[in-house]
Subunit: 144 residues, 4 copies
């Protein structure tokens, strides 16, 4: 798939399969999260650095579309990109591939909150800048 600047790898664990013989659909959200953590780990300390500032990132929405099943012990490639970072909120988009097959795609939305009060707080500028640099300008629908 195109348009993703970051890719991680995950191997389907036996414990992640179910009695249909495939990776259980809830596990994709765990893989997405693991990919977000690795995505952020490239920037100034990543998620632990956020936590050290007293900030947690909540998950507001999750969406996954399954096209083909993943099986034990498939080696998967999970691509992600960060979009729509505004104030406290941001959005990730994902693609899950095995070789050249697209198994699933999805997106999640998040908000940074104060870890004590769970009140929304802006994404720290060091992180917003890092992500903007990594992702580059968003595609414009009016480009000619």
């Amino acid at each position: 798939v195109e348009g993703f600047g970051f890719t991680s790898e995950v191997t389907v664990r036996f414990a992640e399969t179910d009695a249909q013989g495939v990776a259980h659909h809830s596990v994709y959200l765990v893989w997405f999260e693991q990919t977000r953590v690795e995505y952020l780990a490239r920037f100034d300390g990543g998620y632990p650095a956020l936590q050290a500032e007293g900030i947690e990132a909540l998950t507001l929405e999750t969406y996954v579309r399954h096209l083909l099943p993943a099986r034990f012990p498939d080696r998967l490639r999970i691509s992600c990109r960060c979009r729509d970072l505004r104030g406290a909120r941001f959005r990730y988009e994902y693609a899950v591939e095995r070789g050249d097959e697209l198994l699933a795609e999805g997106w999640t939305t998040h908000a940074c909150v104060n870890a004590q009060t769970f009140q929304p707080t802006r994404v720290p500028s060091w992180l917003a800048t890092s992500i903007a640099t990594a992702e580059g300008p968003e595609p414009s629908a009016s480009s000619s």
Copy 2:
């Protein structure tokens, strides 16, 4: 919430919490599945009866929106209804409540498949009829 004909209950397990002190967002998909199983268990043998016919129900899409966190050991009420049953496909909608607070809502889409070939197969008529009876006529936008 209104418009749900079936409600199940689940208690947040300690193992389902994460280091934010709340139920991990991936667990809601497990609770939704458990609610579907209980929803179907009212009808002629339910999910095991489907499996006995050589049919599995795949999960095609999942969507969850989180409004408030759930904590250990909250007692939650999960409502669900089945919609849009056509051919091999159907859709469930969910609401997760604690007391009178709406914690999350979501929907999932599914397809019945042959358990051997994973090819789509119609929802068996005994199940389609049972669900139609349980859910009643779908709300019509043009009713006067």
Copy 3:
């Protein structure tokens, strides 16, 4: 099985099965924990009351022996008893049954710790007394 004063029930979730078609062996530890929570819930507020005192119970050791597999959607009976409560430490023993079949048995050991420092702290007397009352005198090897 005999000698257990407390029994809980759990239904095998589809998400808890693996590609062998049985409940994954790691899930038994989650069921044991859930049973401990319900065991304690009978006493003065249970585990949340412990947490309200700034105490957490750590798991030090776990042991499970599997005799027969559990399958979706088996209804299981999990019995547990608390033993060897001394100072900060205590031990639980478990049996997992389906009808009159013993599927698994196990034990876990625990220590109460200060939730901030993770240093050992005595089991609160209200809880020690409640457990002692519930379990009665331990069988004595020298009884005649």
Copy 4:
């Protein structure tokens, strides 16, 4: 730790933590399994090759001793060795380390079974030979 010929690495996932802020104790069994899979993957196709012969490896017993908690996003080293391979049965031993700290240790016992009948079947000779070669002679108590 000494005496382990195979070491794998795992990063604690956020979803694997619990409200105590540490990796949940049930997750160690998933890490052990993942380590066994990687241990076997060195030999002639590993676990998938076993499955292709119609053989599954059941888990009979699990034991874990926890010394220190693991936290997100710790990078852990999991060592394992295979012992006591006789007929259908074998045993794995594990150590979980973070840097030079021993966080946990444990062991599991297993039996090969026919995937259809779940009846015990000898560990295939190609695998027994590979393991014996990898592990070398077991330490003898009577060596002088």
